[in-house]
Amino acid sequence: MNPYIATQLPLIIGFILLLLTASLRPWKAEPFSLPISLAALFLTGLLVQTGLQPGQVYFGGSIQVTATGKSLALLCLLLTGLALLLSQNYLDKVRVHPVDWRMVVLASALGMVSLCLVGDLATLFVAYELVSIPSYVLAGFASRDPRSNEAGLKYLLLGMFASLLLLLGISFVYGATGEIHLSALGDKLALAAITNTADAEASMVFARLGLVLILAALFFKTAIAPFHTWLPDVYQGTNLASLAFISSPVKVAVFGMLALLLWGPFAPLGSLWQMALLAGMVVSVVAGNLQALTQMSLKRLIAYSAVVNGAFVLLAILAKSPNALVLYLAAYGLMSLGAWAAFMAMGTKSADVDELSDLTGMGASHRWLALGLTVVLFSFAGIPLTVGFAAKFAVLYAAVHAIPTLPAGTVAVLVLLVLSSLVSFYYYFQIVRSIWFAKVEPATSVPVAGLQRTLLWNYATVLAIVVFLALTLGFFPRLVGL
């Protein structure tokens, strides 16, 4: 059997089994959907790892395996597995049918694996939509919650707008070169860039326009400022289980796709996208940090911090360092899941933690949970011994190494990025302060008093896995080496 098809089969079979479960036991509690989903992800991961080798091409170039793409696919599957684990118990709380939810997640996972391995523009768009459309559904899944509906609609409308921009960009690029295969596209663009005929110049104009549209679409999707304004609203309205999925593996897949596009076919247009990335980085760190400073809502705070983290991912892409990119995305994806796991665990039986003050006294009432969340926050901030530090160091190291090949002004942006971390320390430390230093006043202790007394096993397991990986990769970042 075609090894690529083999990697997709477990997810498809899992999807069908979940469909059957949903049909046979509608609206009834069932113990099958989680193990089926996890098994499907595990088998796909196993087959990607053993069956696909870098350099392999399938379906006439529609699928192209690279070492970076393969690592990103595995990372997405791992993060999806953890997000699925988190969904247990939580979906009942927000009255979402677990089987339906997991089915949508498996469909999106199918798209993510393909997105990391795409070889042509048509497959890219299909995979992108296969990732995106389930995300819109997930954002608005808690249909009885008006904020969830608002988040879903906002995400859908802006997401569709981004998809259209992407499609338009792809059309321009195809029109300019007459090519959809990524490797051939790169060759044609490189040839056109050094050819001085009028046709070639016209082609380059359209190709550049196409690239600008593609970048705008992907900046939208990955919430790079100034295209990030939708993110806090969507984060705030989306239930935590869906958010864990949207903010972690989905983001990793789209960032990965952006990197593979820019490093591959669009390498000849480097001068254009390098400037765009630099601009995106500057605006993201400034806007993200400044807006995060004033947030009292935890979800919005993490949303703005995601914008800032996006700037570091762009730096890894700018530096053309697959190692730094994968390490940073792994760190970011894991820490996001860790934060959501801790927030889920701190929720009451009827409501999630929302405000910063909801964590007041957590250090005293839930010491181990608080320690886990502190490690996650330290990793976000980039404190040494955590994977967050290793990832930031790797990205900065790669960027400094690549400075001779990068546009003038990169050094200034690097300094800005590093100094802006100071601001992010402030808001991460605000959370640490709430957890450990703030004294519990009787009037503000309502959320803590209403906590679930027994910590649910799945939240604790995911947080423990995240903390273990954060520290292990913090000590040995080489484990993520490609």
Partner: protein, 505 residues
């Protein structure tokens, strides 16, 4: 004797982690934790003293590498190596003496503090020793940041607000953010050096790597380190965090911040800026010298204008640390004076650390609450605290660089080095130190001499116990020995700074 030193070095580094585990698993009450801390730090202090004295007088230059450990990532190698030589051994000796004294003099008699107090304290201790013995720059940075984490939790969880510093967190946030304002650029500097070398160049490789770097990269790297060290010391202009942070800290934390943590900045000036960034430091030395001299005078004036005894100590620290900075920056400005200025600075680092341990600890022992008294609020305290007042006076004399006590020799070397650059540097910085001495003596006079009001406006604590007094006398003997025969210390340290590649130019 040389074979055992690498083992002792590793033990010295990791022992505070064992203390963390001990406290975390100990189920006794606060008093039990306090006893455990005293016992541990007596043993740990002895270990540090043995190691540093062995190293100082055996003259061993030791670097223990961690080759083959898969740190770093693809394309980047990082050897987690440690070092010890007579250049940095005085810092371990300082820790070895200061830690047990702090944990004995300021032990928690009421049993107020639990696990988190001792875990964060030992995390700070672990980081401090790590900073002073790390040869790898990444390791150095790691411990540098961990020290902030330890101090942050120690102050955040156990700090206290007062009428003069009404809130803990704003003071703590200022401390953390200002420290990070220095340390984050330092991270970029380490990245720049590492990217140029293709690996972590280590403390001793900085000078070599700089030779292959572009001028902009060299200056950027220098700026990051300089900012980190001058904030931590702190130098004038970057001292905004100093007073409030010290005031809200628990007494033991305040003592260690002044005696040891400020020495992280001084250590960086001596071992990284002066030894690594020779050319850059030399070019900027005149500007730094002026900042240091103004800092010494300004610190003295702040002492004069302060009313609380702790504030006077805090600003005296600013003045004395500026003198340490002056020693470093006059040394880098002149090849002839290099060893003298740097050795004077290291001598002062050591001596100032010991004196501040005593001063801050005795200050916290004056009142029952541990709050520092205002010089206008009390008088005649000597009547109830004869031993404490006598030892405090001796510490003030030591701090005032009375000839025959340890600070004198260090300051003499620094002023001698500064005189070679410009007599005015010596004149003004000595004036600053004299003003500090005057302010301290004035405060002592107001607090301890004269008639005690009845009832006393401050609730006076019990006097020092016999054992505590014996320890203080032992410290006084050390000051006397170093004051009368400084070559005991200066000889081995100076040798370290005369050898190229090991701190020498």
């Amino acid at each position: 004797m040389t074979a055992i030193q690498p083992i002792l070095l590793i033990l010295s580094l990791f022992a505070p982690l064992a203390a963390i585990v001990l406290h975390a698993t100990y189920s006794g009450d606060g008093k039990g934790h306090a006893r455990l801390a005293v016992i541990f730090h007596l043993g740990y202090g002895a270990l540090l003293i043995v190691l540093s004295v062995l190293n100082l007088y055996s003259g061993l230059y030791m670097v223990s590498r961690g080759d083959g450990i898969p740190f770093g990532f693809a394309g980047f190698t990082f050897e987690p190596s440690l070092y010890l030589n007579p250049g940095n051994a005085p810092l371990l000796l300082l820790m070895g003496i200061s830690l047990p004294l702090t944990f004995i003099w300021l032990r928690d008699r009421e049993g107020r503090y639990g696990v988190s107090y001792y875990v964060s304290a030992n995390l700070l201790v672990f980081s401090l020793v790590g900073v002073f013995v790390s040869q790898s720059l990444i390791l150095f940075y790691l411990f540098w940041e961990l020290a902030l984490v330890g101090a942050y939790f120690w102050i955040g969880m156990h700090g206290r607000a007062h009428s003069y510093t009404p809130m803990v967190y704003p003071a703590l946030a200022r401390f953390a953010l200002m420290t990070l304002l220095g340390s984050l650029p330092m991270l970029l500097s380490i990245v720049l050096l590492s990217a140029s070398a293709g690996r972590d160049p280590g403390l001793f490789g900085i000078k070599t790597v700089l030779q292959v770097m572009d001028p902009w990269a060299r200056w950027l790297a220098f700026s990051g380190f300089a900012l980190a060290f001058t904030v931590k010391l702190p130098l004038l202009g970057l001292h905004g965090w100093l007073r409030d942070t010290y005031n809200v800290s628990p007494a033991a934390c305040r003592t260690l911040l002044s005696a040891l943590m400020s020495k992280m900045g001084a250590y960086g000036l001596v071992f990284i800026l002066a030894a690594g960034f020779v050319e850059e430091s030399r070019i900027l030395a005149p500007y730094f010298q002026i900042i240091c001299v103004v800092g010494a005078v300004y610190g003295g004036l702040l002492c004069l204008s302060s009313e609380r005894f702790a504030d006077i100590l805090i600003y005296s620290s600013l003045a004395h640390l500026s003198v340490i900075g002056l020693g470093v920056f006059t040394a880098v400005g002149s090849e002839e004076m290099y060893a003298t200025g740097i050795t004077g600075a290291v001598f002062l680092i050591f001596s100032h650390g010991l004196i501040m341990t005593a001063l801050f600890a005795f200050d916290a022992r004056i009142t029952v609450s541990g709050e520092s008294p205002s010089i206008h609020s009390a008088g005649g305290l000597r009547a109830g605290q004869g031993r404490l007042s006598a030892l405090l006076l001796l510490s003030i004399f030591a701090s005032a660089s009375l000839p025959g006590l340890s600070n004198f020799a260090g300051e003499f070397m620094v002023f001698f080095s500064a005189f070679g650059v410009s007599p005015w540097l010596t004149f003004f910085s000595a004036a600053g130190v004299l003003i500090v001495a005057a302010a301290l003596v004035r405060a002592y006079h107001a607090l301890f001499l004269g008639e005690r009001e009845n009832p006393s406006p401050v609730k006076q604590a019990a006097d020092l116990g016999i054992g505590e007094t014996v320890l203080a006398l032992g410290l006084a003997v050390l000051w006397l020995v170093l004051g009368l025969y400084p070559m005991l210390f200066v000889g081995p340290v100076q040798k370290a700074f005369l050898i190229p590649g090991l701190g020498g130019m």
